[in-house]
């Protein structure tokens, strides 16, 4: 992408190559092409592009991937801090907000 690179060296993404069976699902679900398959095993090739959405970890059948997921949303983090909850986008939800 053009000039759309976020802060380097921040992601909590971890890949345990010993557990990987090379099923390729991480390369399919990642929206930022973070993974590739090298010698039939997943590899992280674009680490700083990770936005911690958690799609890879959620879909890895071997649980070889871990990442702390959450909303990369300043407003959500502020609201979370005020309400004492996890960061949450309140761009939403019938139950909590009405106008």
């Amino acid at each position: 992408m053009f000039g759309l690179k976020y802060l380097p060296d921040v992601t909590t993404l971890q890949l345990d190559k010993d557990k990987c069976t090379g099923c390729t699902v991480c390369t399919i679900v990642c929206p930022h092409s973070v993974f590739t398959i090298e010698d039939k095993i997943a590899d992280i090739v674009n680490r700083d592009a990770c936005m911690e959405c958690g799609a890879c970890a959620e879909n890895c059948p071997e649980e070889a991937i871990t990442v702390r997921t959450g909303v990369g949303c300043a407003y959500g983090i502020i609201m979370g801090a005020i309400k004492g909850t996890e960061p949450t986008c309140d761009c939403s939800s019938s139950s909590s907000s009405c106008c």
């Binding site: 053009f2 976020y6 699902v25 929206p31 959405c53 879909n59």
Partner: protein, 384 residues
């Protein structure tokens, strides 16, 4: 539990209700009484599948659909821009037709069906509480549990003979494909990110190119999100501007209408200009602003405004009360634009929680400090 909540909400008066489709959101209701399909404005007919009646939906968007999307972008009725979850049909699907899964945010559903004119298919709409696929996946409402539940509720197993679901790729953060298979017998295939690539995906034997798998955040993608940002920001900025305008008449001696008109106007222009720039220009110029953090990008926009304001002060010093007034805005303007640009992280497609936390730890104290000092100077400037 969640249904009780919804019903409770329905009884409370709510200004969002105007655009709400007045139908009971209940999957079991959706596929039973025939008249229901007639109440869906986007239905073109009904299909009978076993003992169920499935609404057949149009694949062309009407002016009303487009107007609805436009209104949702401007935060009008956005919280209730939803459709009933359940099974829908496009074209004349058979028991072998593909099943596409979507969210019950109407804009998501509209995007999908408008791309399916070439196809006979089923659409399984999950109850994501009116949230789009990606955000709902992040919350887990577009998730494994809900898919398994909706397969059951919709009677999908009796309607199709195959056991395959096509999910939007951006649903993946909420879904464990292998768990869906284990719990429901349905194998998940992740389709492309964008509905507009579905045709290519299906015609290429359910293969997506790397380009179809990548999220973009181009100029148009960013611009369509800015009305929501602007509305959110101006909700606070307009009252603040009115207060600053009124306070601008303060000064030595009596309250002065002249001062209000001169300095007040300057203050209003600078404040609203900052808000407008932070909420619109920062997203628009995002890739070209030479900073990695959003707060940094916003501060740069603020600096640009300050240069303009400084140039104006140089030419027309009378519009500012004194140099302290100018100094006040050196704090307030970049703090405002920085904060608003930082808020755009939530709308962006590439910021991580860790990254946003990191930039906030630095930016928030600076923004609060600069605004605080700026406001004190602004008040002081009235009286010296």
């Amino acid at each position: 539990m969640s249904r009780q909540k919804q019903q409770k909400n329905r009884q409370e008066p709510c200004c969002c209700d105007s655009s709400f489709i007045p139908i009971e959101i209940s999957p079991s209701h959706l596929n039973q009484p025939a008249p229901l399909a007639e109440k869906l404005p986007f239905a073109v007919g009904t299909l009978r599948a076993g003992d169920r009646i499935i609404p057949q939906v149009s694949t062309t968007l009407t002016t009303t659909d487009k107007l609805g999307s436009w209104k949702a972008r401007w935060k009008i009725g956005r919280m209730n821009y939803r459709i009933p979850p359940g099974l829908y049909a496009v074209g004349n699907p058979s028991s072998e037709s593909p099943v596409l899964v979507s969210a019950n945010y109407k804009m998501s559903f509209d995007r999908l069906r408008s791309e399916l004119g070439f196809l006979d298919a089923w659409i399984l709409v999950l109850d994501t509480k009116g949230i789009n696929v990606w955000c709902a996946a992040g919350k887990g409402t577009f998730g494994t549990d809900e898919i398994v539940r909706m397969i059951d509720v919709s009677g999908l197993k009796e309607i199709v003979t195959h056991r395959k679901l096509i999910l939007p790729q951006l649903g993946a953060p909420g879904v464990s494909a292998h768990d869906v298979a284990k719990r429901s017998g349905f194998k998940v295939r992740y389709g492309p990110v964008r509905a507009s690539d579905i045709r290519n995906f299906l015609e290429n034997g359910m293969k997506a190119t790397p380009e179809m798998r990548r999220v973009r955040f181009g100029f148009v993608d960013r611009i369509v999100l800015t009305p929501t940002e602007l509305i959110g920001a101006f909700k606070y900025a307009l009252p603040a501007a009115v207060i600053l305008f009124a306070l601008s008449g303060l000064g030595p001696g009596f309250y002065s209408f002249n001062r209000m008109m001169t300095y007040g106007l300057t203050s209003v222009i600078l404040l609203l200009g900052s808000v407008f720039s932070g909420a619109l220009l920062a997203p628009a110029f995002l890739p070209w602003l030479p900073a990695k953090s959003f707060s940094g990008k916003g501060a740069l926009i603020g600096a640009a405004i300050l240069l303009l304001a400084g140039w104006h002060y140089f030419n027309t010093p009378g519009d500012f009360r004194n140099w302290i007034d100018v100094a006040a805005w050196i704090g307030i303007v970049p703090a405002t634009t920085s904060f608003l640009a930082m808020n755009f992280t939530g709308s962006s497609t590439y910021t991580s929680l860790s990254g946003v936390l990191k930039e906030m730890r630095i930016a928030i104290p600076l923004q609060i400090g600069a605004t605080g000092i700026g406001l004190v100077l602004w008040i002081v400037a009235r009286f010296v």
